[in-house]
């Protein structure tokens, strides 16, 4: 999922200061899974914002809504019935959702409530870790299912570097060395000899390097 974390309250209160009525929109997908912006979090943030305003002798009316997803225009359209009553919108979805709302409602200020962080997986309840950076040319088949681009601090394709210590990265003793993980997997699969196949320099055009990307499926386009 795409993971995110709520922004500090100070920042959120500051950007909503000029308003009295807002629409607070959550998302039922990724941010629900990582407990950052789902229905529950919308309720808690709404209460926190209202209390922060009340404390200063002001009021903030918050209309709470949680959409199925904010990255599809069909769902964002559901905000139409409530958008006029709000002076501003605060979205608890990832950056994709915030932008979809901004695109649809051009004259309504939209603010992000969370900092979108990474594409990751749940290691266990309450712990999410980065797994993918969307490089556009997946090499997981060569590296035993562990991504060196997302999980090696130096994104080495022919690692490890000389700083790998006890299976951990030199940057942080709690961070796994991706190349140790890759080596362990190659061993478990009995394909250690693949390690010496040098992986060629990456073409970053398939990644962010080529500019913002788009996928067009001709068979699905109306």
């Amino acid at each position: 999922m795409i993971t995110a974390e709520r922004k500090p309250m100070e920042e959120l209160i500051e950007c909503l200061r000029p308003y009295n009525r807002i629409l607070l929109v959550g998302c039922n997908e990724c941010v629900t899974v990582c407990a950052a912006g789902g229905r529950k979090e919308v309720g808690i943030l709404s209460s926190a914002l209202q209390m922060a305003f009340m404390k200063e002798g002001k009021t903030l009316e918050v209309k709470e809504m949680t959409l199925e997803r904010q990255c599809d225009p069909e769902y964002v359209e559901e905000l139409v019935t409530h958008i006029d009553q709000a002076e501003a919108v605060m979205s608890m979805a990832c950056g994709c959702g915030v932008q979809e709302i901004a695109r649809r409602f051009k004259t309504k200020p939209v603010f992000p409530a969370v900092n979108t962080t990474f594409m990751g997986a749940s290691e266990r309840q309450g712990v999410w870790a980065e797994r993918c950076q969307g490089c556009g040319e997946c090499v997981l088949g060569l590296t035993g299912g562990v991504c060196p681009i997302a999980r090696c601090s130096k994104r080495l394709l022919n690692g490890p570097c000389g700083g790998s210590t006890n299976g951990k990265c030199e940057v942080d003793p709690d961070m796994d060395c991706a190349w140790q993980l890759i080596w362990d997997r190659l061993k478990a699969l009995g394909i250690e000899d693949r390690y010496e196949d040098n992986i060629a320099a990456k073409d970053w055009r398939t990644g962010r390097g080529g500019g913002p990307r788009k996928i067009i499926r001709e068979d699905l386009v109306k």
């Binding site: 500090p8 529950k40 209460s47 926190a48 209390m51 009340m54 404390k55 009021t59």
Partner: protein, 144 residues
């Protein structure tokens, strides 16, 4: 503020804390009327939003009372509740309401005295902290 009578909401778990309250009652132990008890099947049933709403609606203090460590009827509801209370305390500090207004308290079913003492202590602590600042708002909902 003179003569400030705080309103405290106490979420009490059925198996321990609420039973302790009953015990206090049957032993004729006094505790302040400021404490309003809400019975829950387990302290783990108390979610962050319940605590937030209590404060939003004007409670001056909130505590969640559950079983002693290792004694939870539902295994670890009290531990989950403790973690949530810690999280909410931080959030309340961030918005300036103050995490001290919320506490997690553990007791066993037979601890009538502890129940009464906790109620008194919490009332005094909140009295010193003063009224919940949300009451400064003109539109504050002061339902106690």
């Amino acid at each position: 503020m003179e003569n400030f009578e705080p309103t405290i909401v106490a979420f009490c778990c059925h198996y321990c804390a609420y039973t302790a309250a009953d015990m206090a009652g049957s032993k004729r132990l006094c505790y302040p009327p400021n404490v309003k008890i809400i019975k829950v099947p387990c302290s783990g049933k108390v979610d962050a939003i319940h605590i937030m709403k209590a404060l939003e609606k004007g409670a001056d203090g909130v505590y969640v009372a559950g079983c002693l460590e290792g004694d939870c009827h539902f295994k670890s509801g009290n531990i989950e509740a403790s973690k949530r209370v810690t999280y909410i305390k931080k959030l309340l500090d961030e918005i300036g309401i103050g995490g001290e207004r919320v506490e997690m308290i553990l007791m066993s079913a037979g601890m009538g005295e502890r129940f009464a003492q906790t109620a008194a202590d919490m009332t005094e602590k909140i009295r010193k902290l003063g009224p919940n600042p949300v009451k400064f708002s003109p539109k504050a909902d002061n339902a106690a």
